[in-house]
Symmetry: C2
Subunit: 187 residues, 2 copies
DNA sequence: CACATCTATATCAAAATGATATACCTGATT
DNA sequence: AATCAGGTATATCATTTTGATATAGATGTG
């Protein structure tokens, strides 16, 4: 199983829906998929060039008068084919990186208060994320009855909801454990 | 905020507890932290060399007679200092990569059955992971009353438990949605 | 005694991260 | 009218990470 450039498929997938510039792709990705995959300009622009060279996308300069110049990309038939082939394969990549858990894991070396503060900040961060995703969810539910177009988007939003809720539940549990143990040891 | 080589701190953190070889580090990391951070030989060996050059660890050849030759590394006082400084800073890195969600997100392009199969496989995978983590949890709970040494390890295990449970709950919810929508549209 | 598996170190190309550079546009403030 | 913050847009780069491969001796087993 060779190393796969996943950015390729994210870009093709988004372009399959509509023509976009690199900047647009970043915005769409941040909005729709950032809770389970993040992508930066450092991947987007070089990948777009590579895809253009391979004939999987075509580039044209947007003829809008106002605003800076935009390079608009469209997916080609060959690109759509590559995307569909990828979609048929089983997924390979799945991993998470939580620096907070590393710092907690090695947390014996610092005052317990530091760990508690860390978890508080984590909670605050993900309380916001949950709020955001609940908003998405509400909006999607309003349109989901009529057209099932957004069903897959909805399913990914549900994933985010579950995960953020799990984060918050864990944070409370961890804080309680830290507090209890702290009291016992007189901290 | 410069780019930080997180592998450095994982290695220092593990060496702070006991002397280890690169191979040992990989095993310890796979066992204890892989549910929230994965590390490969491609990071371990070069990072150990770098740490040795910087005087944060020292290397000696293990004098065991049996088995292949082992390079055993120990943390130095300077290394411990670097580790503690890192532990005091707020965490930066937190991200997740779920290729399955990308494939579901773009799932309109393939038969719905493919998406359902994907989720089934995901469920099976994480049912196993949950089993494993429940075993850890049980073992830890048996020792946690006497000594609070493993409290931080326990807290990271609880995180894994919450996450895996969230995965499974989501998978059931998603399968139900796919099934319902499939029936409605006659698939 | 052949074979698979485990221990152990090491390296490398490709991909991703995260930061920075550049520059023009828009709208609000002084 | 000038200034300034913030948004739009493209691009590049060093560092880090990924994921695979190479090598080789040790150990267990059928």
């Amino acid at each position: 199983m060779a190393k796969e450039n996943t950015s390729v498929y994210i870009i093709l997938g988004l372009l399959n829906h509509e023509d976009l510039s690199g900047y647009d792709i970043k915005k769409r990705a941040d909005f729709m998929i950032s809770s389970f995959w993040e992508i930066g300009y450092g991947q987007i622009y070089p990948t777009l060039s590579k895809l253009e060279q391979e004939g999987l996308v075509t580039k044209r300069v947007s003829e809008e008068t106002k605003g800076p110049e935009r390079n608009l990309y469209s997916i080609t038939e060959a690109g759509r084919e590559v995307l569909i082939q990828w979609l048929k394969l089983p997924e390979q990549k799945e991993y998470t990186k939580y620096e907070i858990l590393l710092k907690l894991f090695f947390g014996q070396l610092v005052p317990r208060e530091d760990s508690a503060k860390r978890i508080d900040a984590f909670k605050a961060r993900h309380t916001e994320n949950l709020k955001m995703i609940e908003m998405f969810k509400g909006n999607l539910e309003r349109v989901l009855g009529k057209e099932q177009d957004h069903l897959f988007f909805y399913i990914t939003v549900l994933f985010g909801e579950r995960i953020y809720k799990a984060y918050l539940d864990w944070a409370d549990e961890a804080l309680k454990l830290l507090g209890d143990a702290g009291e016992q040891s007189g901290e």
